[in-house]
């Protein structure tokens, strides 16, 4: 009886989750009348706008990850080492981007950093790109900080630091050669999740008028029939790939022998 009920819940759920995936895959293959083909994918990949926007978003994601790591790792390390009483405060702040909708944050950017303000970031292309990158870093902050902080919990930060210091290492050396390698798996998990978030992000890029992949998908969706389905399949593949890589690196850590 209980088993029937459990199977029922599972099958219902699986049906709900697989139908849209089948639907989009099926639709993406139906561009040619009467037979299945990869025409929609060819069209998408051949579109120069696809290549431009996709490259743009990949670059944004990479810069966001780089910036995020440089910002979060030293901060999380420092808070654990020297300012443990501040941890709840920092944690609360890093969770704020989950509370404040992205559209509100970017609205604030537009009003705060417009051409007539003290820091006119939206006045130039480079400035807007940097602003968008900061926006993405803000969106990724909850995930990045949580990942790194959890990673730091598993190592003895204080002892490692004192050992390195007594051997003559400076702060930069400690961070780059001791702390970072020890939390690498956590950093990579945060990085892949950041990548998955940035690559399809729509709201911030659209409102800052940058040619990113998210707004491109939305535009294509408003004008075409089959290509959007192909894009959805590609996007799902990317998300799946990023999450799969997280699983892979964390399994790698579990199976690795606990060396110092």
């Amino acid at each position: 009886m209980k088993k029937i009920w459990a199977w029922g819940a599972l099958v219902f759920g699986l049906l709900y989750f697989t139908l849209p995936l089948i639907g989009m895959t099926n639709f993406s293959l139906k561009m040619r009348r009467g037979e299945y083909s990869f025409d929609a994918y060819q069209k998408v990949f051949a579109d120069p706008r696809f290549q431009e926007t996709f490259t743009y978003s990949v670059m944004q994601a990479l810069f966001t990850i780089l910036f995020g790591v440089l910002l979060v790792v030293p901060t999380a390390y420092w808070v654990r080492l020297k300012l443990p009483r501040l941890r709840p405060v920092i944690e609360f702040i890093t969770l704020l981007p989950l509370v404040i909708p992205a559209i509100v944050i970017v609205f604030g950017y537009i009003r705060l950093y417009n051409t007539s303000s003290w820091l006119p970031l939206t006045g130039s292309l480079t400035g807007t790109n940097i602003l968008l990158m900061f926006g993405y870093a803000t969106l990724a902050l909850p995930y990045m900080y949580r990942a790194v902080d959890t990673g730091l919990r598993t190592i003895d930060v204080a002892t490692l630091t004192e050992a390195a210091q007594s051997l003559g290492a400076g702060w930069a050396t400690i961070l780059a050669k001791i702390i970072l390698p020890n939390v690498l798996v956590a950093v990579l998990s945060g990085a892949f999740l950041t990548f998955a978030i940035v690559i399809g992000e729509f709201t911030m890029a659209a409102l800052l008028n940058r040619p990113a992949f998210g707004p491109y998908m939305q535009l294509l969706g408003a004008n075409r029939a089959y290509e959007p389905a192909a894009l959805a399949v590609i996007a799902f593949g990317i998300t799946w790939g990023c999450l799969g890589l997280i699983q892979l690196v964390s399994r790698f850590q579990k199976s690795a022998p606990p060396k110092a």
Partner: protein, 293 residues
């Protein structure tokens, strides 16, 4: 960030240097998270020339804006409730249902992917499934003569959006509630059974009260999650369904309300709604952690 207080730490002479370490972080969150939000909050109470006013907030209470908030809240509540219910059923199926062990891992991994598969592509997936020429729509029409449109179903509506949002709501529920279900100790069930409780009584009088805070907490989180979603809604409905995020999007793009500071008030209203939902979440979460360690 607050400045260094002399009584904050015993070795007072080295104190100021400690604070320098988080200066980059403090500067970043101040400039790109706190100040922009403050700008919106303050702007909601200002006239265009900068003096204090409540006129913008009062402007929210016009029928069209209230209707937008109302449908947003309805969609968020519906998708959060259904997400909790279905997610809970699936999570308890894999934890207690006696299903093969091999199902749990893949389902949790899939939940991780699906909870991140939001935004524009999600809308495309549902258009290809329940849209006018979607696979389910066509299947029902050609095999059963069932026309979803004739029955009043439209993807660009309250139910359409709710069903679509469930695609990231259910997995999020599964991810959050599975550890909580794992935390229910076998001893509690055995103790209840020894005292003569039936399965239903165990659930009603032991398990459910213990789980209640995390259930309600997750409900609040899912609510905020749906309330702030912009991209899925825009890709799905264009601007035909007037929910708050879409209205705000249009307002930022081109001042459709004809008053820039009404935009601030609209955004401020969003912060208030998601803020309340998350405050409930945090409060209930700290209560549930008393039992589930």
């Amino acid at each position: 960030m607050s400045s260094a207080k002399p009584d904050a730490s015993p070795p007072a002479r080295r104190l100021p240097l400690h604070w320098l370490g988080i200066l980059p972080f403090a500067a970043f969150v101040t400039l790109f998270l706190l100040l922009p939000t403050m700008k919106i909050v303050v702007g909601a109470f200002q006239t265009p020339d900068g003096s204090f006013t409540l006129e913008n907030i009062r402007g929210l209470f016009t029928p069209s804006i209230l209707a937008a908030y109302w449908i947003s809240i309805k969609i968020s509540i519906a998708s959060a409730l259904l997400g909790c219910l279905i997610g809970f059923a699936m999570a308890s199926a894999i934890v207690f249902g006696g299903l093969p062990k091999g199902i749990r891992g893949p389902l949790l991994t899939f939940s991780g992917v699906a909870s991140n598969f939001a935004g524009v592509p999600l809308a495309f997936a549902f258009l290809a499934t329940l849209g006018p020429v979607g696979i389910v729509t066509v299947f029902l029409r050609s095999n059963f003569g069932f026309d979803l449109r004739m029955l009043g179903f439209n993807l660009l509506s309250f139910w359409g959006l709710t069903i679509t949002y469930l695609f990231f709501q259910i997995p999020l529920m599964i991810l959050i509630i599975t550890p909580a279900l794992d935390g229910l100790k076998r001893e509690w069930r055995e103790a209840a059974e020894i005292l003569g409780a039936t399965g239903l009584q165990y659930w009603r009088m032991v398990a459910f009260p213990i789980l209640l805070p995390s259930l309600l907490g997750t409900l609040a989180l899912l609510f905020a999650n749906a309330f702030g979603a912009v991209a899925t809604a825009i890709a799905l409905t264009g601007s035909s369904l007037s929910i708050v995020p879409i209205l705000l999007f249009a307002q930022i793009r081109g001042d459709v309300l004809g008053n820039p500071h009404l935009g601030y008030a609209l955004a401020f209203g969003m912060i208030v709604v998601t803020g309340i939902a998350n405050a409930i979440y945090i409060w209930l979460r700290s209560r549930s952690e008393r039992w589930l360690k």
